[in-house]
């Protein structure tokens, strides 16, 4: 089959900049491409060619970042190329434009986030989208359940396919391949003889690492030699020190337990930090789909403390490979779970071993790819969605017109839905039957797979591909990392934040001094309303910059 995988407009594939979706696609491609003629369309990146064929997979890279721009590029590409199946990742809003350009292709949609929420997609469009796609794959039951709740009619077409991890790259710290790396990282960062808690993720309010930092004082009373490693890229960035990063830095500064920030770590290097750690903590406060870091931590043989938010707890078997914090808003709940694990060394060890077992048994890319293959097969077998003929007739319009006209097409599509009811019912019947069969198939397959896993021919080939790929990626990543480090170094030296703060501080002092002096007088003046250029005038002086702008600034 000719298959097109449509990535999102945010990050390139392969995941030179990281990204869960990009990792998911890259992890499964070597296997998927053995069975089908696969093209991947995604966004361009300076380190990647706009067109290439790698290991038999065609990559097409177009401008992105903004969905509107990306959408037009993707639609144009699809108009000039035909595919049996188009697998769209995490962008339901691409479905209708793509349907317009490919009236006969089957469409599979992968959902990695809550992109069906009403603030993300208009319900009218969402309903059309759900009629156009043959099936929907979600990264966790949580993600699927949100869609089911919003659009009950979608229920029969939704299936969870958990993501995967390269269990040969993510290895426990005591693995022969990792021992040296673990020791050298720990030595380099003053973590020898420390019990290292690891957080890995974006430094953002949603990800909640501040709760873990706030739990440290409580932990420090019970455990000597603890350390926290925060692996997230924005800590040292001078370009965009967000309020949040400033906040957690301010808190971290005051801890007796050392907080080590790694700064930017290339996606190809993160396994080293997992190997250097002793306990993994995910602090997410938001309804997270299911963070990849859980698979990586399991593969690295780390006990996990995670939160009962979104899909995160779906991969935790309580007391076997980790513990779940029910109320992550409260730092002491983290302290409590971490204490439970740290105070029982044998439990801690058991959890790590069990996590590794689970990763190898359930979360390898083979399993993910096989499930995607099933879904593709199912999509091809599914009846065609019903509105394409109508779309075909207006497709010529779409070709030459801008996206605002494309929106009109959606509306037209929506009006025509009445035609589709019988088809829909038929389709649902079929899909129901198929789902039952698929479940059975899946179970059979998993059983067989487990037994044969290591001897699998596909597996071996996959490994070779993987190695090739990893090598190439490594080279790229190293260069990227170096560039980034160089840049950050320069910035660090200049320490712009300090400067800014000094200036702000000065402004503030000036402002306040003037305010104080004028305070009483101004109040009286303003009440009188007699002095026409009183207090606001004086306030002008409080801020040099504002005054400057006032007198000079123009567009």
């Amino acid at each position: 089959m000719k298959i097109l995988m449509v990535c999102t407009e945010k990050l390139p594939v392969p995941p030179v900049l990281g990204g869960a979706i990009q990792t998911y696609i890259s992890g499964t491609l070597p296997i998927l491409s053995k069975f089908h003629d696969v093209t991947v369309i995604g966004i361009s990146h300076p380190s990647l060619p706009d067109k290439e064929i790698m290991n038999g997979i065609q990559f097409v890279r177009v401008p992105g970042n903004v969905l509107e721009i990306y959408r037009e590029e993707v639609v144009q590409f699809i108009q000039n190329n035909s595919f049996d199946l188009i697998h769209i990742f995490n962008r339901p809003r691409l479905v209708m434009p793509i349907r317009g350009a490919a009236p006969n292709a089957k469409i599979t949609l992968s959902m990695h986030n809550d992109m069906f929420n009403i603030e993300k997609i208009d319900p009218t469009e969402a309903t059309s989208v759900l009629k156009e796609v043959s099936n929907i794959v979600t990264v966790s039951d949580y993600v699927g359940n949100v869609i089911r709740t919003l659009y009950p009619e979608s229920a029969p077409n939704i299936r969870t396919i958990y993501s995967g991890v390269d269990t040969e790259r993510f290895l426990p710290g005591n693995h022969p391949k990792m021992r040296e790396i673990r020791n050298s990282i720990r030595k380099q960062h003053g973590l020898e003889n420390k019990t290292v808690l690891l957080f890995a993720g974006r430094l953002s309010v949603n990800k909640g690492v501040d709760r873990l930092i706030q739990a440290l004082p409580q932990l420090s009373t019970k455990f000597k030699d603890l350390a926290l490693v925060v692996m997230g890229s924005k800590w040292f960035s001078q370009d965009e020190v967000t309020d949040y990063v400033a906040y957690i830095k301010a808190l971290a500064k005051r801890q007796s337990i050392p907080v080590v920030a790694t700064g930017f770590v290339s996606p190809s290097e993160i396994q080293k930090w997992f190997a250097a750690a002793d306990l993994f903590v995910c602090t997410s406060l938001w309804q997270e789909p299911l963070a990849r870091v859980h698979y990586e931590a399991m593969a690295a043989g780390l006990p996990i403390v995670t939160t009962a938010r979104g899909g995160n707890a779906e991969v935790i078997i309580q007391n076997e490979n980790g513990l779940v914090v029910e109320n992550p808003e409260d730092p002491s709940c983290f302290a409590e779970k971490i204490t439970t694990i740290l105070s029982d060394k044998s439990l801690m060890k058991r959890m790590g071993i069990r996590g590794r077992e689970l990763a190898v048994a359930n979360y390898e890319w083979n399993r993910v790819a096989n499930e995607i293959l099933e879904v593709w097969h199912q999509a091809i077998e599914a009846p065609s969605t019903n509105i394409h003929n109508e779309l075909e007739s207006i497709q010529t319009q779409l070709t030459n017109e801008t996206h605002s006209e494309t929106l009109e097409v959606y509306q037209k599509v929506e009006l025509d839905n009445e035609f589709s009811k019988q088809d829909m019912l038929d389709k649902e019947d079929m899909v129901d039957k198929k789902n039952k069969k698929d479940k059975k198939d899946k179970n059979d397959k998993v059983d067989k797979k487990d037994k044969k896993d290591k001897n699998d021919k596909v597996d071996k080939e996959d490994k070779k591909d993987k190695n090739d790929k990893v090598d190439k990626e490594d080279k790229k990543d190293k260069k990227d990392k170096k560039d980034k480090v160089d840049k950050e170094d320069k910035k660090d030296k200049k320490d712009r934040v300090d400067m800014k703060d000094k200036k702000d501080e000065k402004d503030r002092v000036d402002k306040k001094d003037k305010k104080d002096k004028k305070d009483k007088k101004d109040k009286v003046d303003m009440k009188d309303k007699k002095s026409k250029k009183d207090s606001v005038d004086k306030k002008d002086k409080k801020d040099k910059k504002e005054k400057k702008e006032k007198n000079n600034k123009q567009k």
Binding site: R496, V497, M499, K533, S535, K550, Q554, K555
Partner: protein, 362 residues
């Protein structure tokens, strides 16, 4: 030129007020080659070093112009430039016109940012710093909001909208009150820490009530009317960006415009002015609202939202949020006094809001 990326730059005691890095000046010269006018002189008039933006005044054979380097993402800037073009060309608003390049473009992309040239309006003078001036500002703001309705951004622009984000931004205020508290606790030996701890609960409670009121209000039904029907907020409107010029009030500095409920601008203008007065003055508030209403009629629903937006602890939040950067410097005696001023002013806020609460429901 293609490979240069404009980034923020540093200023210190050694750099002069209008310092702009050389490579940016070089880019500016390149950009100006795309225009037909002859430049007689170039002078930096504003810089935003921390963001990487700047404005130059140009004297040309075709009269004075401004050259602006927009610090935002290019696709974001396209939204604002489209708005400015719409306001000038379609709505004939008193907003500086954009000068087209030789190729008929509104902007030039260089150094990864957008640059554009606009007319320099002369003469422009700030309104008087009294109630009359405040009313002029409000009326001009109302006009601006009316004229901005119906704007549709160009297809390649990203849609800048704050319309649906009110609950989120209220939530952020509540969250950050936690941060203020946690930092004050972590730095409890600093002079201003105790002042923060004394009042942060009260202000956080105010913010919680504001969010609850917002959720109870007609906000969601207003949001449903959509971006285009509400039009644009300026986001940085005040005594410097609204000035008196040829034929009336002119509104400048439009690069932050976004779709939103328009009264957001009005709320900021009024609450900022009350902070400047150190007093919530019912007469001023009423007259300012009325002046706005004459140009852009307020419905009871919008008035209700205006009241809710007033009820947020805007001044405390705005002035204290910097604490996360270098708390060991910020939490000084001056901040203690600043907090006292905010708390004192807040005393007059609630009676004033109570008094005007039902003005629009009669």
């Amino acid at each position: 030129m293609d490979n240069i990326v404009i980034i923020p730059w540093e200023v210190d005691e050694l750099t002069h007020e209008f310092f702009v890095p050389d490579y940016i000046n070089t880019l500016a010269a390149e950009v100006l080659k795309h225009y037909s006018f002859q430049v007689k002189s170039v002078q930096v008039v504003t810089t935003k070093p921390d963001k990487g933006g700047a404005i130059w005044k140009l004297e040309t054979n075709a009269g004075p112009k401004s050259l602006k380097l927009l610090h935002r993402r290019p696709t974001r800037s396209m939204f604002s430039l489209g708005a400015q073009k719409y306001l000038v060309e379609v709505q004939k608003a008193r907003v500086p016109g954009i000068v087209q390049t030789n190729n008929g473009q509104e902007y030039i992309e260089a150094g990864g940012k957008l640059w554009f040239v606009a007319e320099w309006i002369e003469p422009l003078a700030p309104v008087t710093k009294d109630l009359e001036g405040a009313k002029q500002l409000c009326y001009a703001l109302g006009e601006f909001h009316q004229l901005s309705k119906g704007y549709i951004p160009p297809s390649q622009a990203e849609i800048a909208s704050r319309l649906a984000k009110w609950p989120k931004s209220y939530g952020k205020v509540i969250t950050k009150m936690d941060w203020f508290r946690n930092i004050a606790r972590a730095y409890k030996e600093m002079p201003a820490s105790q002042s923060i701890l004394n009042v942060v609960d009260t202000f956080q409670e105010q913010a919680r009530k504001s969010l609850a009121d917002l959720n109870q209000s007609s906000y969601l039904s207003l949001v449903e009317q959509g971006n285009k029907s509400w039009g644009l907020v300026h986001q940085d409107y005040g005594w410097s960006n609204g000035q008196m010029g040829p034929n009336g009030m002119w509104i400048i500095d439009l690069d932050g415009v976004a779709y939103d409920l328009p009264i957001r601008d009005l709320r900021k203008l009024i609450s900022g002015t009350m902070a400047d007065l150190y007093n919530w003055d019912v007469t001023w508030i009423r007259e300012m609202i009325r002046a706005y209403h004459e140009a852009s009629p307020l419905t009871p629903e919008l008035y209700e939202l205006l009241m809710i937006d007033f009820s947020l602890p805007n001044e405390f939040y705005k002035n204290i949020k910097e604490v996360v950067y270098e708390p060991e410097l910020f939490l000084n005696e001056t901040t203690t006094q600043l907090i006292q001023t905010i708390v004192d002013t807040d005393q007059s806020k609630w009676p004033a809001l109570n008094e005007i609460q039902h003005d629009w429901r009669k």
